[in-house]
């Protein structure tokens, strides 16, 4: 039997407000998600440029070393050093990669900076005389020359480290070996390579100089939405001093 007293009321104002609020929240969430994806795309575009700058940093540092080899090296303490930045533990740290144009010839060089082991990202531009720019994106590139045994601490949103001991602000000096001379009795890496040299009939007097193998990191830093981002690539460079050494 049909109910003759069916209630045919419309929506109340409260119901409309609740429904509207739900719609508003859902719409805001969807648009927010969409904007987040779009911002991610923009960041990726910037990161592609920064990665290319970082790659170029390694390439040009490799050229500095190769050109040094071609020209016979740099005299350091009476010896011919092929990659002068790695000649001494005193030289480890942050460098500014700069172009040097003389006439028609352009070469590059690594200029030392006073940037600390743990470098606040916001301070990076003050240590580089060669800022990078591409369609509004501005960045700073610094080259880190560090001991083979430096702890690899990835850059975070606040700072980047170079030649850090255990992630602290204390520098690493490559197994505590002296800049030249025989291996320290506690320097396992040095002793192992020396033993290897002797096994392969190299001269028994060969020693492993400081900077025999250094890590090169090319770090690009750029501002992004009230924060900073970094892109970095690294490689190992060998260094040789004279004919009876590695």
């Amino acid at each position: 039997m049909l109910n003759k007293h069916i209630r045919c009321a419309g929506f109340t104002l409260l119901e409309v407000l609740v429904a509207g609020s739900v719609l508003f929240v859902v719409t805001t969430a969807v648009v927010g998600l969409s904007n987040s994806i779009i911002r991610g795309t923009s960041t990726n575009a910037d990161k592609t440029i920064a990665n290319r700058w970082a790659s170029e940093g390694l390439e040009l540092t490799n050229k500095i070393r190769n050109d040094s080899v071609k020209s016979g090296g740099t005299a350091v303490n009476g010896e011919s050093v092929w990659f002068a930045q790695a000649a001494s533990v005193d030289k480890y740290g942050w460098y500014d990669l700069a172009a040097n144009k003389v006439g028609a010839v352009t070469t590059w060089q690594l200029n030392p900076t006073s940037a600390p082991v743990q470098l606040p990202l916001a301070d990076a531009p003050s240590y580089s005389a060669t800022p990078l720019e591409s369609q509004g994106l501005q960045a700073t590139r610094l080259i880190c020359v560090e001991a083979y045994g430096a702890v690899d601490v990835s850059s975070d949103s606040a700072s980047a480290s170079c030649n850090s001991r255990d992630g602290t602000s204390s520098p690493v000096n490559d197994g505590d070996r002296v800049p030249s001379g025989d291996c320290s009795s506690t320097d396992t890496y040095c002793l192992l390579i020396k033993a290897s040299l002797n096994r392969n009939h190299s001269t028994a007097s060969a020693y492993i100089p400081s900077g025999n193998m250094v890590k090169i990191r090319s770090v690009v830093i750029w501002p992004d939405h009230n924060s900073f981002r970094t892109a970095e690539l690294s490689t190992l460079f060998g260094n040789w001093q004279d004919s009876n050494q590695l």
């Binding site: 419309g10 904007n35 575009a45 390439e59 040009l60 490799n62 050229k63 071609k70 010839v105 591409s134």
Partner: protein, 212 residues
């Protein structure tokens, strides 16, 4: 009881709904516009990166034991490199027509033959198209210069290079190995210039011939 909306309720509801819809549709419209720009930016990023990666990979295999030029038309000393410099494995602006170009003489590991690759930019009504031509299996290096008639477009129909000079570089000298600079400012064909934000995407790098 049969009670519908009052006029006041109806007016308030419609006003609220209209307000929400204006906000929502406005946000969606802005989002859609930005998404389109973002999509275009991503495409440009990929196209630029693809080109830079391609020429970077090729440059890894240049044979720096071969000193160019081949002859007066191909890899001659124009433009004049530093005094005493020679092109080894690559040369800049080998084409006689003055277009910006680079020739790479490649030798892949384990391969006894050469591959010649020519990248060049041609200007057409203010746009700069990029082209690549290739000649494979050359037993003699001097026979490996490709002809431009065999060239294919690098950027396709969507994009153009906004900069006329894409390739720069320097030959080998006694104390310094050569390098090739590549800078591509990519622009959509439907954008007349790079003045509007996001209308262009720039990617650049320097490649060194290395080796010693």
């Amino acid at each position: 009881m049969k009670k519908g909306f009052t006029l006041l309720e109806l007016l308030i509801s419609i006003t609220i709904f209209a307000g929400i819809m204006v906000i929502a549709l406005g946000a969606f419209a802005r989002s859609a516009t930005t998404a389109a720009k973002s999509n275009d930016s991503r495409s440009k990023t990929e196209a630029a990166r693809s080109f830079i990666d391609q020429i970077s990979n090729d440059f890894r295999f240049i044979d720096t034991t071969v000193t160019l030029p081949f002859d007066s038309d191909h890899c001659s000393t124009k433009p004049t490199p530093p005094v005493g410099a020679t092109w080894k494995g690559f040369c800049l602006d080998p084409l006689a027509d003055g277009s910006n170009s680079v020739f790479l003489l490649l030798k892949y590991p384990g391969d006894s033959t050469y591959t010649g690759k020519l990248y060049y930019a041609s200007t057409n009504s203010g746009d700069h198209d990029l082209w690549v031509a290739e000649k494979r299996n050359c037993s003699v290096a001097t026979e490996c210069f490709p002809v431009t008639a065999d060239a294919t477009s690098v950027l396709g129909s969507l994009y153009t290079a906004s900069n006329a000079t894409v390739f720069t570089g320097q030959a080998d000298t006694a104390s310094s190995s050569g390098y090739l600079g590549v800078r591509l400012v990519l622009r959509s064909h439907d954008a007349s210039s790079c003045t509007n934000e996001g209308s262009c995407y720039e990617l650049a790098t320097t490649l060194t011939s290395g080796g010693f």
